[in-house]
């Protein structure tokens, strides 16, 4: 049986923003998080691990976006991760 429509998002805008979040924002967040982590822990293990873990974390963010009911909360989480990672990278490089 198809899913009960009662629980699904009705607005097309919300749906579109979720798709944008999982295809564009989630990978950016995942990559930035790994780069910051590489500066934080050290390159030796993070860089090789990131080859596959970037995609696992991306997948995790995808699930997160659909798990959280309010779409702005998931956007906020992803953007905060990006912001903090970028700030840390900037700090570590300078």
């Amino acid at each position: 049986m198809p899913a009960n429509k009662k629980y699904l998002t009705k607005s097309n805008w919300t749906r579109a923003s979720k798709i944008i979040a999982v295809t564009l924002i989630a990978p950016v967040a995942s990559i930035n998080f790994h780069l910051a982590l590489a500066f934080f822990i050290g390159f030796a293990y993070v860089v090789p691990t990131s080859l596959f873990s970037i995609f696992i974390l991306w997948g995790f963010f995808m699930v997160l976006v659909y798990w959280i009911k309010k779409v702005w909360v998931s956007w906020l989480i992803l953007l905060v991760i990006i912001l903090f990672s970028v700030l840390y990278i900037y700090y570590a490089k300078s």
Binding site: I31, A38, V47, P48, S50, F55, G59, V63
Partner: protein, 538 residues
């Protein structure tokens, strides 16, 4: 209440994302399953044995490049050997970003345009003539074509990225599917009900087989995403962590091909590379290597280095590579990594490769991979059938016709791939080897047949006939494959193994088996249909 929302959201997510990627995913897995045997198929097509490992004369290779007018000074040059299907030498050198200051190019006049140009070519190992100056990849072979099809290479430019995105949505779809079945996962696994109704069969098959294939599919979702979208890992990492130096990144993921910035001082006289190669072989105690790759960095500069990577069949281990790095100036060792020492940095990229290509454990593992890929194809197709069956009621009456046509086209594309492959193998043996544009013709026949079958599926709109006819055509053509091979090359499957043509034998027997198993399946389902009142075949 909250559980219910999550269940329904992920149920919808699983349905929508899966039905969107279903066809692409089926092609990935089906073509990918055949592509596991890419080398065997290439050798079967070219009627060649497994070639001996070739000894490359590095100095001669470099002098050939020099005669071609390429300026080699300061370059990083990769020289390797390939044997798929016939032995060849490949040379690759990316243009360096920086301008040479000490380059001898100025004295060369007209040849300066080749100073900083991409070198990517293949050489004949016997005559050292350039056979292909466009790419180091093999093109125009059957196995390679199927391999390229499995990541949508025929779609220009975006094809490979498309397959990467698809892999990510496959990942999402697997997770969503696992979430919705999480609570009943154990009873679901043990309840394979086939006697009740057709919908129940699809549903049980989809969940039970889906759970069996779960680790395999997760592995393929991640490694597939990596191979297609590796660019999104490499570019940010190299730019942010290593200030744009690819060589620095290589140190952490493929230590044998790392390189440093060059010291701007030309090298007066260097050691002979062939001698260094011999030294490297002795140093690592390599007797019988399968493949060897050489990376020469900062050629003809003071810190020029040569790194040798050997791949050898090792017992009891899936790690089978060793490398050693030499200073070219005086042949002293910079770094050495023997076969029995494994570091994390080199193993990750290597293992991603090994897992994705099933390149451990020989034929046994590859056949298991093949069967698991077929199982995944069944899970995908049964999911599509489930989607249709779930909408086969009064509530969805308006869209019923549309849904049926969609599924008919899906089935046409997916099922049509099997006879199309059988036809591709037949046509490859019917067309003589030396006609012009041969490869374009045979792939053209393949694509046209596939398209026609899809169109036929749309017109017929009967899923049972579409599937049955596809299987009948595939079985007929499949049985003809070994016969056509015998007529064309004289390598009959009963004698080819004795003559040492292992790959020819393997592909012939596989197609004969495909044909026979499909025929038997068709006869069995027909019999059971006559006996049972409820038809289960489809």
């Amino acid at each position: 209440m909250k559980d219910k929302r999550i269940y329904n959201v992920f149920y919808n997510l699983h349905t929508v994302s899966s039905i969107t990627i279903a066809v692409g995913l089926f092609i990935c897995f089906f073509a990918g399953a055949f592509a596991l045997f890419k080398t065997n198929i290439n050798r079967w097509e070219a009627n060649v044995k497994k070639p001996e490992a070739i000894a490359i004369d590095y100095e001669k290779t470099l002098s050939v490049l020099d005669n071609e007018g390429y300026v080699l000074d300061g370059r990083n040059i990769f020289i390797g050997s390939g044997d798929d299907p016939k032995p060849y030498i490949m040379v690759l050198s990316q243009p360096s970003k920086k301008k040479d200051s000490l380059s001898t190019a100025n004295n060369r006049g007209a040849l300066t345009q080749k100073e900083n140009e991409l070198i990517s070519l293949k050489l004949d190992p016997n005559t050292y003539k350039i056979t292909d100056n466009k790419s180091i990849e093999q093109h125009g072979f059957l196995g390679t074509f199927i391999y390229e099809l499995h990541y949508f290479e025929p779609i220009p430019k975006i094809g490979v990225y498309l397959s990467g995105i698809l892999a990510m949505f496959f990942f999402l779809s697997i997770i969503a599917g696992t979430i919705i079945h999480w609570k009943k996962i154990v009873p679901m696994f043990f309840s394979f009900r086939i006697k009740n109704s057709i919908k129940q069969l699809w549903s049980s098959g989809h969940t039970a087989l889906g759970i069996i294939g779960l680790p395999f599919q997760l592995m393929y979702a991640i490694t597939g995403a990596f191979f297609s979208l590796s660019i999104i890992v490499f570019i940010p990492t190299a730019n942010v962590l290593f200030n744009g130096e690819q060589g620095g990144l290589m140190e952490y993921i493929a230590p044998s091909s790392k390189y440093e910035n060059r010291i701007e001082e030309p090298l007066k006289n260097r050691e002979n590379l062939n001698l260094i190669f011999k030294k490297a072989k002795d140093e690592l105690r390599v007797d019988d290597y399968r493949l060897s790759f050489v990376n020469i960095t900062n050629f003809n500069y003071k810190n020029a280095r040569a790194s040798f990577l050997f791949i050898e069949k090792q017992e009891k281990s899936i790690f089978e590579s060793a490398h050693i790095i030499y200073n070219v100036s005086d042949a002293s060792i910079v770094e050495k990594k023997p076969f029995n020492k494994v570091t994390y940095q080199e193993s990750v990229l290597y293992l991603l490769h090994v897992f994705h290509f099933g390149a451990f454990g020989g034929y046994f593992v590859k056949i298991i991979y093949f069967l698991l890929a077929m199982l995944t194809c069944f899970v995908i197709q049964s999911g599509v059938m489930l989607w249709l069956e779930a909408r086969n009621n009064k509530k969805h009456l308006i869209k019923k016709k549309f849904n049926k046509s969609v599924v008919a086209i899906y089935t046409g594309i997916c099922m049509g791939l099997f006879p199309s492959f059988a036809l591709l193998f037949c046509v490859a043996k019917i067309f003589p080897q030396n006609i012009e544009n041969r490869f374009n013709i045979i792939t053209g026949v393949f694509f046209i047949f596939w398209l026609v079958y899809t169109f036929y599926a749309y017109l017929s709109n009967n899923l049972k006939t579409i599937t049955r006819n596809a299987l009948i055509i595939a079985a007929l053509l499949g049985v003809f494959v070994p016969l056509l091979n015998g007529f064309q090359s004289g390598l009959w499957f009963w004698s080819s193994l004795d003559k040492g043509y292992k790959d020819s034998f393997f592909i012939d027997i596989s197609w004969a088996l495909f044909g026979l198993i499909t025929f038997m399946g068709l006869i069995l389902t027909k019999k059971s249909k006559k006996n049972a009142t409820t038809s289960l075949s489809a």
